[in-house]
Amino acid sequence: MTATSSRRKLLLMGRSGSGKSSMRSIIFSNYSAYDTRRLGATMDVEHSNLRFLGNMTLNLWDCAGQDAFMETYFTTQKDHIFRMVEVLIHVFDVESEEISKDVETFALCLRQLSDYSPNAKIFVLIHKIDLVQPGKREEVYSSMMQALRETSKVYGFPIQGYATSIWDESLYKAWSSIVCELIPNMNAFESHLQHFAKISEAQEAILFEKTTFLVISHASYKTADMDPKRFEKISNIIKTYKQSCSKMRSQFQSLQLRGPGCTIIIENLTSNMFIMVILPRLEVQRKESHINAGDEDIVSLNIKAARKTFERLEMDKAR
């Protein structure tokens, strides 16, 4: 591989107003969902280079969706746009009145990709799902996905789909899977995290990327009765809190919670990652005192000890 291999090109496509710039600003620029109403339509292609996990660069191409721009993507600009793409994220507005035209555009993208970047990974986001009645979301999503699968089959691309909205945590789930797709040594992260969780006697340990707070990996020793959406919910909760801290011109550094039935610790693991550790309820013996110093301290020590290992893993991923 070449020296530029840690620079990853991601294309963000979809009709004008579908929400591409909104999600980019929320995930990468600390906007709140309200703030996105200030965004104007994107002109041409807006490039952003986002550092991710230290030495990886996400080279995001936010491609304006107005027809005038779109046309050039498939004609004069096609080799510029579609060359060396690692990920295509195609955003579909659920409220769009011209779905068939949107699907056609999607097909055009796949066609170019099959020529210029046949190994690209394809993600489709069925966006603004909040505008669909809660009872109908599943159905709307499935029927959209079916149509898109048909389309992509023709070009031999498998696709991954998510129903998303900037008004809830669903956005974090989708983007977490997108970025995880780009980390080559995911398995190593996972196995080290599992080891860490085990020796810390944690019920769960979760790794987050520092600026986006997207989930990179998790190790779970108790999953029964757990909220399956908890990972993206945590991203959303902490992201909102980070915004709040930035209003005080400060940044979030760590958190410790001793709830009635669990203990939660969030700390910096490396300069690019946070770790969250959840300890189960410690029965009887410590009940009389709500201050069971000790647990947290041991976990903090474990985190310190694990720091080196994870820093190495981060370096490794650039190879």
């Binding site: 019920q203 940044q251 550094q253 958190l255 039935g261 669990c262």
Partner: protein
């Protein structure tokens, strides 16, 4: 004083934002969803269950002039404070005429009643324009009071509010504080706590509604209040994700968070849905044992105050 819970009226013209305030503060409605609220045509109440239980009653919005009826006479005998909501994004002269009618009525039938004017929906106005609007409204209301020669019979306060930020919570906090007779004791406890534990700012929050029942005597900075309020959200939301134990579980919730400028946030759950939230410097947080000890003392003090409050109310209720 009436033996029942203190009651607060929420009044104002139609579409001024009364229901929105009620839904956002007490039912966690998202501010944007208030666009779809239908007009309220009957009196609707909501109960705040906290250190002091308070009933908020939204009266149906009037179109124009306030017209007292025998029903109003009865209602106004029982009320302890009145919130009047004015839509600041709209032409407000009608609202002021309506308010003037109410104030004249209050002066005659309930002199001294606390009237809180919420200059509402100010999210749409620039900072300068907000202050101008406030000045203009205050001026007009006061002039009218003087003309009617009732300026000494009503006690008025003005607040700039919006459901899109924390201003509505802060304004309501001030309203409920005036209805809490134990406020001096509560403030005194918080002042002592701050002095002896190196705490910069302390709030006693009602966790569900995010209003604060008391704070120490240092000035309230809205940003500090916002961060403390958001910090409660983080603690409660994270705990909800992982805590399957019921409320009977042993220890009260405790949460600390460190920011990179050396500020430490601290939350400790108290009785009746209340939580103490502090902001301190890291140097003070190093004496966390002392802080926790002092916090325990406040928790005890609060329990005693509440027990005394209940005891004093039982004869009144029977």
């Amino acid at each position: 004083m009436s033996p029942a819970n203190p009651t607060v009226f929420i009044m104002g013209l139609r579409r001024s934002g009364k229901s929105s305030i009620r839904k956002v503060v007490f039912y966690d409605m998202q501010p944007l969803d208030t666009l779809y609220i239908e007009s309220t045509s009957t009196t609707t109440s909501v109960q705040l269950e906290s250190f002091t239980d308070i009933t908020f009653q939204e009266l149906p919005g009037q179109l124009n002039m306030f017209e007292p009826t025998p029903e109003t006479d009865r209602l106004f005998q029982e009320v302890d404070a009145l919130i009047y909501v004015i839509d600041a994004q709209d032409e407000y002269l009608h609202a002021l005429a309506n308010l003037q009618g109410i104030l004249e009525y209050v002066a005659e039938h309930r002199p001294g009643l606390q009237v809180e004017v919420f200059i509402h929906k100010v999210d749409g106005l620039s900072d300068d324009f907000r202050l101008d609007t406030r000045r203009d409204i205050e001026q007009r209301v006061n002039d009218e009071l003087i003309d009617a020669d009732i300026e000494n019979q009503v006690s008025l306060s003005f607040h700039l509010t919006s459901i899109f930020d924390h201003s509505i919570y802060e304004a309501l906090s001030l309203v409920i504080q005036k209805l809490t007779p134990e406020l001096p004791q509560l403030e005194n406890m918080l002042n002592l706590l701050c002095q002896h534990s190196g705490i910069d700012k302390a709030f006693l929050f009602d966790v569900r509604s995010k209003m604060y029942l008391a704070t120490d005597s240092s000035p309230v900075d809205i940003q500090t209040y916002e961060v403390c309020s958001d910090f409660i959200d983080v603690a409660v939301d994270l705990d909800n994700l992982y805590d399957s134990s019921g409320p009977e579980a042993g220890r009260p919730m405790l949460c600390t968070s460190i920011l990179n400028n050396g500020v430490v946030l601290y939350l400790r759950q108290m009785i009746r849905g209340l939580s103490l939230v502090y902001l301190m410097r890291r140097e003070s947080a190093q004496k966390l044992a002392l802080v926790e000890y002092n916090t325990d003392l406040v928790a005890e003090g609060l329990e005693k105050l509440y027990a005394a409050k209940r005891k004093s109310r039982i004869p009144a209720a029977s």
